[in-house]
Structures are given as structure tokens and as C-alpha cells.
């Protein structure tokens, strides 16, 4: 099945995705604690500006303002009855911006985690998770999203539930996880584990990868982990622009546009095809990233030492792959 993303991937060997959503919306006046998705209806002009920032900086793909647009998250704001409407609006505004750009730009319908722990450890059943993701997917589809874009996932069960839901919506999709805990996801998944997870799905994503997490260095270590197992489908790298700092009453991420340009080129050398930013990545960062990706040649696959030399140290010595995995402090006996 052909779509805007698959057509771009046929002709290009790298694509640039977008940067931050939350950080940009703060600059437009979003209050801390409020749901960004409500703005799709209340301030569509600002959401249009948000998308245009990415498109004008050269992004080939941008994510819709619907990260927290599932029933579980919107319930906090009493908006669980508006899932379809808010997601449809997020994609409609995106469609308008993409179609007016004069080139092929992919509207990717962002789908974030439910925030619940899945059964048996937590209260969220597989069926309910599929239902929530499906509801959101239908809204994004109605609004004209080209693909769905699952992001910041920690649990393999949740990733699989979304894959199933997107099949029900009959939509192509991409999906990234967040490797923020000692190089693994919060649930302990390594980069290698994710490659296996993606391979085993009935409805696999068009592209998979990592987003958010701890910083550019960690993210590239994860990308190296993915590409070490072959590149059967495009790899996505969407790292944060450094780490958050609190300055003059607002959040600022300390990664400079120049640093993010280095990160972008290095991400491509690590094996990523779709490269973007996450929290703290503003238009100025995207412009530098686009310049660097357009003008600088590809290089050899970087080593871990080269990554840390250019982008800073890792948050943990090991990322759970290879032979240097730390040993448990207690003896394990039978399970269950």
C-alpha cells in the first residue's frame, strides 16, 4: 500500500522529521498542566504555526498535536469524550499545512502512551488498550493523517496493542520507544529486544526507532544497537536537544542547534533513515540539522567513543546489550 511516507522513502535515503511539540507550545502560551490537545479546537491558529515551524525548517515529516489524545490521558482534563474530535482536528490542521507546502510533507498522527501499566502487573487490559488506540487512530485517519506515529512507549505489550489497533484502523504506522533507563526502556527492553519485538508483530511498522530518552548520546547508542541487527526497515532517531534546565521561568533544553546538527549527521551514520528531534528541538535546531544533512557527506559507522567525544557521555555504562551487562546481586530461583 502506497502512502506519502513510502513514496518519499523510495526516492530519498534520509528524511527529516520534526522537533518538539510541548516546548514550542509553551512558548505560545500553554500553561503547565493543561492539555495541549485542547488547543486543536481552541487555538487552531497556534497549532498551524507549530506545524509550519517544522515544515519551514525543512522537515519532511511532522507529528500532529495529539500525543496525549487517548481516552486515558484526556480523562484528566475531562475531555475523554472528545478523543475523536480532538484527534481529527489535530490531523486536519496538519493536512492543511502539508498540502499548502508545495512539496510532499508527511502528516504523522502522533499517538503517545496511555500512561497505564498493562495487565497482569497493572490495570490496563490488552483489549482496552487496543480499543483506546483504535479510537484515537480513527480520529487521526478522519482528519487526513498519512501515517500514524506511535512514540515514547516503554512496554512491549503496549507497542503490540497499538499495532493491533492500527490494523483495525487500516492505517500504515511508525513506532518509537523511549530508552530512558540505563539505556533500556523503563520496562527493561533493550534495543535488541525491540528489533525482535518489531520482527514478531503481525502488523509491523513501516519504520521503528527511538525517541526522547536522556540525550543525544544515549539515543545514538540505541540506534547503533538497532542497526547492528540489520536494517530491514527504516530506523527512526528522534532525540532530545540535551537535557532540561529551568531558566527565567521557563524550560530550556541545553543542546545547541550546532550540537543537534552533529547529532543528525551522526544519527544517519549510525544507520537511521528518519532523523528528527524531540523535547527542546526548536526551529533553529531543525534548520541546522537540515543544513547538515543536506550538505555533509555520509561517514563511516561511528564508534561509541566517537559519539561521546562529540555529543557527551552516556547516562549509564551499559545499555543491556553485549557482554558487559551487570550481574544481579541476588541468586535467582525458580519463577512462579
Amino acid at each position: 500500500m502506497s502512502n506519502a511516507l513510502s513514496r518519499l522513502l523510495e526516492t530519498r535515503d534520509w528524511l527529516m522529521a520534526d522537533g518538539a511539540t510541548g516546548t514550542n507550545l509553551f512558548n505560545m502560551g500553554l500553561s503547565s498542566g493543561d492539555a495541549p490537545e485542547i488547543w486543536n479546537l481552541e487555538h487552531p491558529d497556534r497549532i498551524k504555526t507549530l506545524y509550519s515551524l517544522a515544515v519551514d525548517a525543512g522537515s519532511d515529516i511532522f507529528l500532529t498535536n495529539s500525543f496525549g489524545g487517548n481516552a486515558s490521558r484526556l480523562k484528566l482534563h475531562g475531555a475523554e469524550g472528545q478523543v475523536r474530535e480532538l484527534n481529527r482536528a489535530a490531523a486536519e490542521i496538519g493536512r492543511e499545512v502539508a498540502d499548502a507546502s508545495g512539496r510532499v510533507v508527511v502528516v504523522a498522527g502522533s499517538v503517545g502512551p496511555t500512561g497505564e501499566i498493562m495487565a497482569p502487573m497493572g490495570p490496563l487490559t490488552h483489549e482496552l488498550a487496543v480499543e483506546m488506540f483504535h479510537e484515537q487512530a480513527e480520529g487521526l485517519k478522519e482528519g487526513g493523517a498519512d501515517v500514524l506515529w506511535l512514540e515514547t512507549i516503554s512496554a512491549p505489550e503496549e507497542y503490540a496493542a497499538a499495532a493491533e489497533a492500527f490494523k483495525l484502523a487500516d492505517m500504515p504506522w511508525c513506532g518509537t520507544m523511549s530508552f530512558d533507563t540505563a539505556g533500556r526502556t523503563m520496562m527493561g527492553l533493550t534495543s535488541e529486544d525491540m528489533v525482535k519485538l518489531v520482527r514478531g508483530l503481525d502488523n509491523p511498522p513501516m519504520a521503528f526507532g527511538a525517541n526522547c530518552g536522556v540525550g543525544a548520546s544515549d539515543l545514538l547508542r540505541t540506534v547503533l544497537g538497532f542497526s547492528a541487527h540489520g536494517v530491514e526497515r527504516p530506523i527512526i532517531a528522534k532525540g532530545n536537544a540535551g537535557i532540561p534546565k529551568y531558566e527565567d521561568g521557563h524550560i530550556h533544553y541545553d543542546g545547541t542547534p550546532e550540537l543537534m546538527a552533529e547529532y543528525a549527521v551522526m544519527a544517519r551514520d549510525c544507520g537511521a533513515t528518519i532523523i528528527g528531534g524531540c523535547c527542546g528541538t526548536m526551529a533553529a535546531h531543525l534548520e541546522k540539522m537540515h543544513d547538515a544533512l543536506s550538505t555533509r557527506p555520509r561517514g563511516p559507522r561511528p564508534t561509541l567513543d566517537q559519539i561521546t567525544a562529540l555529543l557527551g557521555g552516556f547516562s549509564s555504562a551499559s545499555d543491556g546489550t553485549g557482554d558487559d551487562v551487570p550481574a544481579p546481586r541476588r541468586n535467582r530461583r525458580r519463577r512462579g
Binding site: 518538539a20 510541548g22 516546548t23 507550545l25 509553551f26 500553554l30 503547565s32 498542566g33 493543561d34 492539555a35 495541549p36 486515558s72 490521558r73 484528566l76 482534563h77 500512561g115 497505564e116 501499566i117 502487573m121 497493572g122 516503554s154 530512558d180 533507563t181 540505563a182 539505556g183 533500556r184 523503563m186 520496562m187 527493561g188 526522547c212 536522556v214 532530545n240 537535557i243 532540561p244 534546565k245 529551568y246 531558566e247 521557563h250 524550560i251 523535547c279 527542546g280 549509564s316 551499559s318 543491556g320 551487570p326 550481574a327 544481579p328 546481586r329 541476588r330 541468586n331 535467582r332 530461583r333 525458580r334 519463577r335 512462579g336
Partner: protein, 232 residues
């Protein structure tokens, strides 16, 4: 491991049993922990000694391996569940003997943020370490925090945020406490995956805690400091 099936907890001497309970806590084996607690009670152990030596001791190891990236959230949830099984037996007995808690904490995820996995881990690990924990759940406005600390008079206020869009709200709470002149009456600890120490300081918290294990260590340090400063 085939011979492992043969462990009979009641056949172990006290020291072996406590060691085995630490292993079983690590493996999240709730029924075995409950059995171990009951055996030690039958052998005449004080509830407080079982709590500290077997359960808190075991959870400290779980916490250390969580901190070091050896155990992850699913394993820690299992361990905490096993701990809860043991605590359910000990709690009424501890209440009878009037065993002290080492401190009290009010904790909650800030307004707009649903993510409570880390916060729940902190709650469980703090309880495991002997703290009394009042958990306000998710999505707490500044009023909810202030009401809870006025009512509960805790030693510690813990706040958690996981999103770029909710992190600054922790500063809103701290600033309101300052305005009311009550900021310094409490130890304020903050946490959440994207945060860091510098961020914690910038918003006026006493400390940023990277994970649940660090939260316990930090809480103990601050409580000890507070006691040292208290008038004799």
C-alpha cells in the same frame, strides 16, 4: 534449576531463611515471602525485626539493582507486591507494638500528568524502608498538595512530573509554599525521568531523586539532618 524446587523454608535456620527471603523478594515471590514471615513469627521474632532485617533488607537490594540498571520496573513491581504480602501480615502486629516510622511523606504526580509508575515505585520503596506514605495519586493541583500537607503534617513532600508540559508545575507548587511562608517547614523532593539535579535546584526543591532507590536514600539523609538540627 532443578534442585531449587526442593527448598523447604521451614527447614532453614533463621539466617538461611532470611537470606532465602531476600532472594525470594528479589524474585517477587509473594507466597514464599508470606510463608517466611509467618515462620519467623512462629519462631518468636519481633515483627519489627522481620520488617527491617528480611523485608527492608531485601528491598534495599532490589532498590540498588534498580538504581544500577540491573532490575527494571516489572521486576520491581513484582518485588513490591511480594513485600506488600509480608507487610499485610506485619502491619497489624507493628501497630500493636507501637513501632515507630522513620518519617512521613506526602507524594503525588502534578496536575496534567498521568504518569505515576515512578511515583508508585517511590511510594512502595519508601514504605518498604519504614516511612509512612500518603499517596495523593495523579493530576494534583497546587491546592491538593497544600491541603494534604496541612492535614498530614509530613516531613517530606514528594512531587513527580514526566512531561515537558508538566515539569514547571512543580515550581508553581514550591512558589506557592514560599508565598505562604511554609516552604522551609518541609523537605521537598522531586522526581521524573527527564529531570536532573540542576533542574531540582532551579525550581527550589531540596533535591532531585533519579529513581526510587535514590529517593529513599535522599529521604533518610534529609530526615537525619533535620533531627540533628532539631532543638534538644
Amino acid at each position: 534449576m532443578s534442585d531449587e524446587e526442593d527448598i523447604i523454608l521451614a527447614d532453614l535456620d533463621d539466617e538461611e531463611l532470611v537470606q532465602q527471603m531476600m532472594d525470594d523478594l528479589y524474585d517477587g515471590m509473594r507466597e514464599e515471602i508470606e510463608e517466611g514471615v509467618n515462620i519467623l513469627l512462629e519462631r518468636g521474632w519481633e515483627p519489627y525485626r522481620i520488617l527491617t532485617e528480611a523485608l527492608v533488607g531485601g528491598m534495599t537490594i532490589v532498590g540498588a539493582d534498580f538504581r544500577d540498571g540491573i532490575l527494571f520496573v516489572p521486576e520491581v513491581l513484582l518485588a513490591a507486591n511480594a513485600m506488600k504480602g509480608g507487610m499485610a501480615i506485619l502491619k497489624p502486629l507493628l501497630a500493636e507494638t507501637g513501632a515507630r516510622t522513620i518519617g512521613k511523606m506526602v507524594i503525588g504526580t502534578v496536575k496534567g500528568d498521568i504518569h505515576d509508575i515512578g511515583k508508585n515505585l517511590v511510594s512502595m520503596m519508601m514504605e518498604g524502608a519504614g516511612f509512612e506514605v500518603i499517596d495523593l495519586g495523579i493530576n494534583n493541583a497546587v491546592e491538593a498538595y497544600l491541603e494534604a500537607i496541612a492535614k498530614e503534617q509530613p516531613d517530606i513532600l514528594g512531587m513527580s512530573a514526566l512531561l515537558t508540559t508538566t515539569m514547571p508545575y512543580m515550581k508553581v507548587v514550591i512558589d506557592t509554599m514560599k508565598d505562604q511562608g511554609i516552604r522551609d517547614d518541609y523537605i521537598v523532593l522531586v522526581g521524573g525521568a527527564p529531570l536532573n539535579e540542576e533542574f531540582g535546584r532551579a525550581i527550589g526543591a531540596d533535591a532531585y531523586c533519579r529513581d526510587a532507590a535514590v529517593a529513599v536514600e535522599t529521604a533518610k539523609t534529609f530526615i537525619a539532618r533535620k533531627h540533628n538540627q532539631a532543638p534538644a
